[in-house]
């Protein structure tokens, strides 16, 4: 009989065992190599899985089958894709800046993988438990913009440059709400360490875990965070940087073969990483929502939540049309930014309205919840009204399409 705890810690135990059996001078190195390799392999596999998942999911949403030729139900499609991209000719434009052109996808993928170092994917399963984990995540993530610029500029193509500019403007604009919407969590947790944040949410009272998403500021913050994350990862409906119908494929237009695959990989990895951050900050990381579900291994929880969020991304992609550039910018600066500030204020209020102020738990908790929710909802309604004023919403006319 294997206990639930043993299953939970099976990977940790395995790693410890391997490290224990290596010579002492190499132990640190082996430990690092194991961690890095695991991350790369697991998430690359997840990437492969997601591509087919996404294509089939989108296909269902659009009333078609999606890939179904390679292997049973088309599950081996990613392998075929990989073979294809590896064997294709690597075309580099003559006018391109070769070095930068070569470096850009590598930098991008490398930087994205770096962010995984601090993600707690399970109990005791964090590569580096940094004291400033969240800050590290954002600091390293900021470098992706530079990689995008490198790709766009070095290709010497107007579409790629335009796409890069769009992407950078968008990423910068949405990075601010992204960071600001995670500020309440940091405020309430009192730590920047991801492990610390998850452990605080893993506590339970009355069978219910202390997930941040269960509080009004956490719920609002989560929604804002996910919107900003969608934009940050250039996913639909914020996929202007690659907008196929306008600028073909954006900044990686001039990439082919394996480099193109790297961009593709980086994009998905970015999505996983930012979803992982969202899970860590708001959805309790690897913890179970109810204490009676605690027997399920923590990494299953993490990856289950991750897949759910990914499905959400796919669903949104299949549903929502692309925004215009001005809409995108207005949304970021006029709606997201003020709302995140309001959420921060609400979180402060939540802290202030402790049991001593609002009274004992059952009723006091409800009052506290309602007050904080009101503090967010009232400005939201006013803001939304204000932004909608003077804007006529009419039936769209397709002048040339019909």
């Amino acid at each position: 009989m294997i206990s639930a705890g043993a299953v939970d810690q099976v990977f940790v135990t395995l790693k410890d065992w391997i490290v224990f059996h290596t010579p002492a001078p190499l132990q640190t190195l082996v430990s690092i190599v194991i961690e890095v390799a695991t991350i790369i392999v697991v998430f690359a596999a997840l990437f492969a899985l997601t591509t087919v998942f996404e294509r089939k999911g989108l296909g269902r949403m659009q009333n078609r089958y999606g890939p179904n030729r390679v292997g049973p139900f088309g599950v081996f499609q990613p392998i075929a894709d990989a073979v294809k991209s590896l064997t294709k000719e690597d075309v580099v434009p003559r006018a391109a800046d070769h070095v930068v052109h070569y470096l850009a996808p590598l930098v991008l993928v490398g930087v994205v993988f770096l962010t995984y170092a601090v993600l707690p994917v399970g109990r005791n399963m964090t590569a580096v438990n940094l004291d400033a984990g969240v800050l590290y995540f954002f600091a390293v993530g900021a470098a992706t913009e530079l990689a995008v610029f490198m790709a766009g500029w070095s290709s010497h193509n107007k579409y790629s440059l335009l796409g890069a500019m769009r992407a950078i403007a968008q990423m910068i604009s949405y990075e601010i709400p992204l960071i600001l919407s995670s500020v309440p969590v940091i405020m309430m947790a009192g730590t920047l360490s991801m492990v610390g944040i998850v452990e605080q949410q893993a506590r339970t009272s009355g069978g219910l875990a202390h997930w941040n998403v269960f509080t009004p500021w956490g719920l609002a913050g989560f929604i804002l965070f996910m919107i900003a994350a969608t934009a940050e990862t250039n996913r639909s409906p914020f996929d202007l940087p690659e907008g196929e119908s306008e600028i073909i494929a954006g900044y990686f237009i001039e990439y082919s073969g394996f480099k193109f695959a790297l961009f593709f990989l980086a994009e998905y990895l970015e999505m996983f990483a930012v979803s992982g951050l969202g899970i860590t900050l708001f959805l309790g990381g690897w913890s179970a929502p109810f204490s009676f579900l605690g027997w399920i291994p923590s990494w299953i929880w993490f990856f289950g939540k991750l897949l759910t969020l990914i499905f959400g991304f796919i669903w949104v992609r299949g549903t929502v049309p692309r925004l215009r550039m001005d809409q995108l910018m207005n949304f970021a600066w006029k709606f997201m930014l003020p709302m995140t500030l309001i959420v921060i204020f609400s979180a402060g209020l939540w802290r202030f309205l402790s049991a001593a102020v609002v009274g004992p738990m059952p009723l006091g908790g409800v009052i506290r919840w309602l007050v904080c929710a009101l503090v967010i909802l009232a400005p939201y309604i006013t803001l939304a009204r204000g932004l909608e004023r003077g804007r006529r919403i009419e039936k769209r006319v397709y002048r040339y399409a019909e």
Binding site: D97, V100, L130, D131, A132, L135, Y136, F138, A139, V140, A142, A143, E145, L146, F149, M150, W153, L161, M165, I168, A169, I172, S173, E175, I176, G190, T191, L192, S193, M325, M329, W333
Partner: protein, 183 residues
């Protein structure tokens, strides 16, 4: 030898990035080299135990200032136009290089003769947690923090006003504006 191997590597990376940034022909290459230098410096900070400062360096310099510089290069058409004239040994350029060398000589002299630098033995890395930095910022240095916040706001507004096009009817130059806000 007091310096660790990693310090040496990072120092060389930083300095090489700096030299490349100051000598390359294409402005965009310069900016990218500058990023290398900044990143190396951030790593140096981390190596010296200043975790928060290193990450802030990374976030601000690599994430913001480098992007700003790149945007400025593109907006002033430095990115696609002809590369800046190479180092033709103009008298002014030589004078500048000589002045910089003199400064370096004097600084090295100062470091070499400094009693402080000679005495500074390697002490154990101070264990600073984010919590301590947070308390320091919010208690002892709260006034400077507020002043900095005010100054950043002023700079933000100033940058937006400067970068706005003078004519109103032209399409808004969104990017420069946003860069200002970001900073």
């Amino acid at each position: 030898m007091g310096m660790t191997f990693s310090f040496l590597i990072l120092a060389i990376m930083t300095l090489a990035g700096g030299v490349a940034a100051m000598t390359m022909r294409r402005l965009v290459h310069c900016a990218l080299a500058l990023v290398v230098s900044f990143a190396g410096l951030a790593a140096l900070y981390l190596n010296l135990g200043a975790e928060f400062a290193g990450l802030a360096q990374l976030l601000v310099y690599v994430g913001a200032i480098a992007i700003l510089i790149v945007f400025a290069i593109l907006l002033t058409r430095g990115g696609e136009g002809e590369p800046e004239g190479s180092f033709s040994p103009s008298p002014a350029g030589i004078a500048g290089a000589v002045a910089a060398l003199a400064v370096f000589a004097v600084l090295t002299w100062a470091v070499e003769t400094s009693s402080v630098a000679r005495a500074g033995a390697a002490v154990a890395a101070p264990q600073t947690t984010m919590r301590e930095i947070g308390f320091a910022l919010m208690q002892r240095y709260v006034l400077p923090l507020e002043v900095i916040a005010l100054m950043l706001t002023a700079a933000l507004i100033g940058a937006v006003i400067l970068a706005l096009r003078e004519k109103r009817n032209e399409p808004a130059d969104g990017t420069a504006q946003k860069q200002g806000l970001r900073a």
